[in-house]
């Protein structure tokens, strides 16, 4: 449970988590195993299409939440259940405590419910002198330890068998071995005894089917079956977002939920309960059943045009499973009660700005969660949006506001970059790296070497490197260089120009282009980000190009996807921004798919042994996977695949400035994987990644060149 008071305290906690060896190993093993098991589970299923269907259906349920609730209540009550609606967490807890009192219950067994975690139900019930025992193994362990969950599906993933064994020794009064199979059996017996004496069962719920007033519960252990069967009273607590019109909707989610959560085709048990069933120990042999729905902001959220999609979450936890930051720091530092990317968002809505303000800054924007989200939620986009909202509520930090002000004015920004060339003189080395960092960065930032600003920016070189105008061009292209390839690595832009020599490409470079604005979005400076977007769009509208080529994956995905999101709802810009976005293309796709460069265009000598780093914003942001790999092979390079090739390098633009320690760990993992390939050159499609990777290679003394794909393509051209 993350509850740091200040950003500084939060960073301190993050640093501490990074030092937890057990956690790090457990998380690494999990992240790697998960990827394979998920892929296997979806082998025969079109996951993208399934996710789209789920997202559409959930969006429809969200829009009809009130009607679905009314229908569910009517149907469930026909079959004897009692249905309640709680406005907030406190009311839900009070309703459940009151049911216990009215029914003379004192001993409660509980199966897993994230909603009950959300309302802190156990604390409330215990304060009312009710005994509450969690019966999901992981939940029981953390309950005994008085901790919160560190994963939505595997709440005790942060603990070792030794810690569990100690906890069980205390709980049973008998010395326990650190043998997992034995510990599980101990839990079986201890909890079975709790089941025999419980008079009330509290469960969660995965689906609330309005048509029949039925709930569906998805579990592996089978404890939810005992919870809903043995005690004479059953209370199910669920968010209004669990409502769904028909059984079919639930079965559809069920195809994705276990596959995404744990790589299982289905969980061991799925339980469908309608109305009041037989119960020998209840009055009249009929169980007392109460369904408690929780609003807690959900009805308002459902009406929010941007954030209503949050309610499409099916609580699979996959956004944590693939998050490189979660993998480094674990769930207690990556959520308050809800964990992972969705946790950062839900914390803001359910637990408030104070709990969320530090957390929402800890997203590296790699898009791994968005790619696999079973509810089709734009998680990183919403996290950035919340960050911006919080800054608007609480005031913008000086650094971020200044950045916004400066970048809105292209001339001022570029002047600053030109001055930087002189300002860095005292610390600039001859090898293209800063010899040491200016004091504001040190010492946390010393894990990678940072480059010096180039002597001459690409925009000043343009008149010289600009290709001669051709009579009948096949492709009319305008280059969007991005700041890094303009001011730090202009040679990558020059290589781009060189690499398409003789292929009928007419190139131009609109001088009014500025930073793409992604750093502003990362910093929560929405207004400045929008201004910059308009400037860039207008700069390119003056050209009659068919393609806007950018060699920076982050710029490309920002221009292509975020510009229409920022400007598309404004009738003044809607059509123009879409036309702009449609033209945007990345380097590898342009060369491989549009120009169709092939083996004959390259020298026939044997090329270097290379490996590849897939930039987040290329492989996920633009869904470009094959083009760069095909290009490398066509160019005669000996391409060796790198382990975890599509995992973030830790750059994340301004993220690495905010969380240098996490960035460092991601980079170090990346470097280990690259080193294992024994490649001579590491190629990638993004100057930001080049900056990070080259800095890491230099700092670690690796005999490895790091280049943009365009550079080697230019070298290998005939």
């Amino acid at each position: 449970m993350q509850d740091a008071k200040s950003f500084k305290e939060y960073k301190g906690q993050v640093r501490e988590a990074l030092g937890d060896e057990f956690l790090r190993t457990a998380m690494d093993n999990f992240a790697i195993a998960y990827r394979t098991s998920r892929a296997n589970a979806f082998k025969d299923i079109d996951d993208k299409a399934l996710i789209k269907d789920i997202a559409d259906a959930k969006a429809c349920s969200t829009a009809n939440m009130d009607e679905l609730y009314a229908q569910f209540k009517e149907e469930a009550e026909k079959n004897g259940a009692v249905v309640h609606l709680a406005a907030d967490a406190q009311e839900a807890n009070e309703i459940i405590a009151r049911i216990a009192k009215d029914e003379n219950c004192t001993k409660i067994v509980k199966s897993k419910s994230m909603t009950a975690e959300e309302t802190l139900l156990n604390h409330h019930l215990e304060a009312e002198n009710l005994e509450v025992v969690e019966t999901d193994l992981g939940e029981w362990i953390i309950q005994l330890r008085d901790e919160g969950p560190s994963h939505m599906v595997m709440p005790a993933i942060h603990l070792s068998r030794h810690q569990v064994s100690d906890t069980f020794t205390d709980a049973t009064g008998k010395k326990q071995d650190a043998d997992i199979q034995k510990l599980v059996k101990v839990a079986r017996r201890e909890l079975r005894q709790k089941f025999t004496e419980a008079d009330m069962g509290v469960s969660g719920c995965n689906f609330a089917i309005a048509e029949t007033g039925t709930i569906g519960i998805v579990t592996n252990e089978g404890n939810a079956r005992l919870v809903t069967t043995l005690p004479r009273v059953h209370v199910a607590l669920m968010g209004l977002d669990k409502l769904t019109p028909k059984l079919h909707d639930a079965l559809r989610v069920l195809r994705a939920l276990p596959r995404n959560a744990t790589g299982q085709a289905i969980t061991s048990y799925v339980t469908w309960i309608t109305g009041t069933n037989e119960c020998a120990v209840a009055e009249g042999d009929k169980k007392k059943v109460h369904f408690v729905f929780l609003d807690n902001g959900r009805r308002a959220l459902a009406k929010d045009p941007m954030f209503s999609q949050v309610l499409q979450c099916v609580r699979c936890g996959a956004c944590a499973n693939v998050c490189p930051v979660y993998r480094m720091v674990g769930g207690h530092k990556m959520g308050h009660i809800y964990i992972g990317a969705i946790g950062l968002i839900l914390t803001y809505f359910f637990h408030g700005t104070d709990k969320a303000k530090n957390l929402v800054q800890n997203c590296i924007n790699c898009g791994a969660c968005k790619e696999i989200c079973a509810g089709g939620i734009d998680l990183p986009g919403l996290i950035k949006e919340i960050h911006a909202r919080i800054q608007d509520e609480e005031g913008h930090p000086l650094s971020s506001a200044l950045l916004g002000k400066m970048m809105k004015n292209r001339k001022l920004f570029h002047k600053f970059l030109r001055i930087a060339k002189y300002a860095q003189k005292p610390v600039a080395g001859n090898d293209g790296f800063l010899r040491h960092l200016p004091m504001i960065f040190a010492p946390d930032h010393d894990f990678r070497s940072l480059p010096v600003v180039a002597e001459v920016p690409f925009r000043d070189m343009w008149p010289k490197v600009k290709p001669v105008k051709i009579a009948d061009p096949k492709y009319k292209v305008a280059i969007f260089s991005g700041c890094v390839q303009d001011f730090v690595y202009p040679e990558q832009s020059v290589a781009t120009v060189e690499s398409m020599r003789g292929k009928g490409v007419e190139l131009e470079y609109p001088m009014d282009q500025s930073c793409c604005g992604l750093p502003l979005q990362m910093m929560g400076e929405k207004v400045a980000g929008r201004d910059v977007a308009i400037q860039n769009m207008e700069a390119f509208e003056k050209s009659d190009c068919e393609y806007i080529l950018t060699m920076c994956a982050s710029c490309a995905s920002h221009l292509k996807h975020n510009y229409p999101k920022m400007l598309g709802h404004d009738p003044k810009y809607a059509i123009r921004v879409q036309e702009f976005a449609d033209k945007v293309i990345d380097y590898s796709s342009f060369m491989n798919d549009v120009v169709g460069i092939d083996e004959d265009d390259f020298r026939q000598t044997k090329g270097e042994k290379v490996t590849y780093h897939a930039p987040c914003h290329l492989c996920r942001g633009l869904d470009v996977k094959a083009a760069p790999r095909e290009l490398m092979v066509k160019a005669g390079l000996e391409y060796v695949e790198c382990a975890e090739e599509e995992v973030c390098c830790g750059f994340g633009g301004t993220y690495s400035v905010k969380f240098p320690k996490i960035s460092e760990q991601l980079l170090s993992k990346k470097m280990d994987n690259v080193e294992a390939t024994r490649a001579d050159v590491l190629l990638t499609d993004c100057p930001g990644c080049v900056m990070q990777l080259r800095g890491g290679a230099n700092k670690n003394g690796l005999d490895l060149e790091v280049k943009h794909v365009a550079e080697l393509i230019a070298e290998r051209r005939k």
């Binding site: 457990a26 193994l137 017996r189 089978g222």
Partner: protein, 208 residues
């Protein structure tokens, strides 16, 4: 209903993937014999239920003491079927229960049931458990033996929609069961039988 052999094949493959034991039987008599043999073999030297050999709190330990002798529960058998199985149980010294399972929450050896449907895509059995005795039998048994007629196996869960919606018109408790009870909550190591059965045996019955 007709048997679709591709469904039977896929069902078997998927159920075995999640550690269910799938066998074929040609008659109910054969299914009884299978169950009796299984009960006989089950931890032949001890009558304990799993976990009772570990260091437990006094209360949990006391619950272990409630189990005496080998026990099979078969709440959904009709009278004739019940007497047939009961005779074999008596011959082997096992107790056969039809009801009153709440008196046996400490654990029983085998729960014997008839599955209503099978889902090939996931190797799942579908068990309408409106009867509380049936429900409890599938939860507290160490081993669950389910007889599934081959003709009842459908391709995927969508094919059961109208059947299930019919069930859900009134008070109902329907279970999808796929393999034995499992957890990976400690260090993500798979452990079988945390709350429910440690083994699931599915007997595919040849339709006559």
């Amino acid at each position: 209903m007709t048997v679709k052999s591709e469904n039977v094949k896929l069902f078997t493959e998927k159920a075995e993937l999640v550690s269910a034991v799938v066998s074929e039987v040609s008659s109910l008599a054969e299914a009884y014999q299978y169950t009796i043999d299984l009960c006989g073999k089950k931890e032949a030297c001890k009558l304990l239920v799993s976990g009772c050999e570990e260091g437990l709190s006094d209360k949990a330990d006391a619950l272990c003491e409630t189990k005496i002798g080998k026990t099979i529960a078969a709440p959904s058998l009709n009278k004739k079927q019940f007497s047939a199985l009961e005779k074999q149980c008596v011959d082997n010294g096992f107790q056969l229960l039809k009801d009153g399972l709440r008196k046996h929450l400490g654990g029983i050896d085998i729960g014997f049931t008839f599955a209503d449907h099978g889902i090939a895509e996931t190797g799942t059995i579908v068990l309408n458990s409106r009867s509380e005795e049936l429900r409890i039998a599938t939860m507290i048994s160490e081993v669950h033996v389910a007889v599934l007629p081959k003709s009842k196996i459908v391709a995927d869960s969508y094919a059961l929609e109208s059947y299930m919606e019919e069930c859900m018109r009134k008070a109902d408790y329907t279970a999808f069961i796929t393999g034995p009870s499992r957890t990976a909550d400690i260090e993500r190591v798979l452990a079988i039988g945390v709350h429910g059965p440690l083994e699931l045996h599915i007997l595919l019955l040849e339709d006559k």
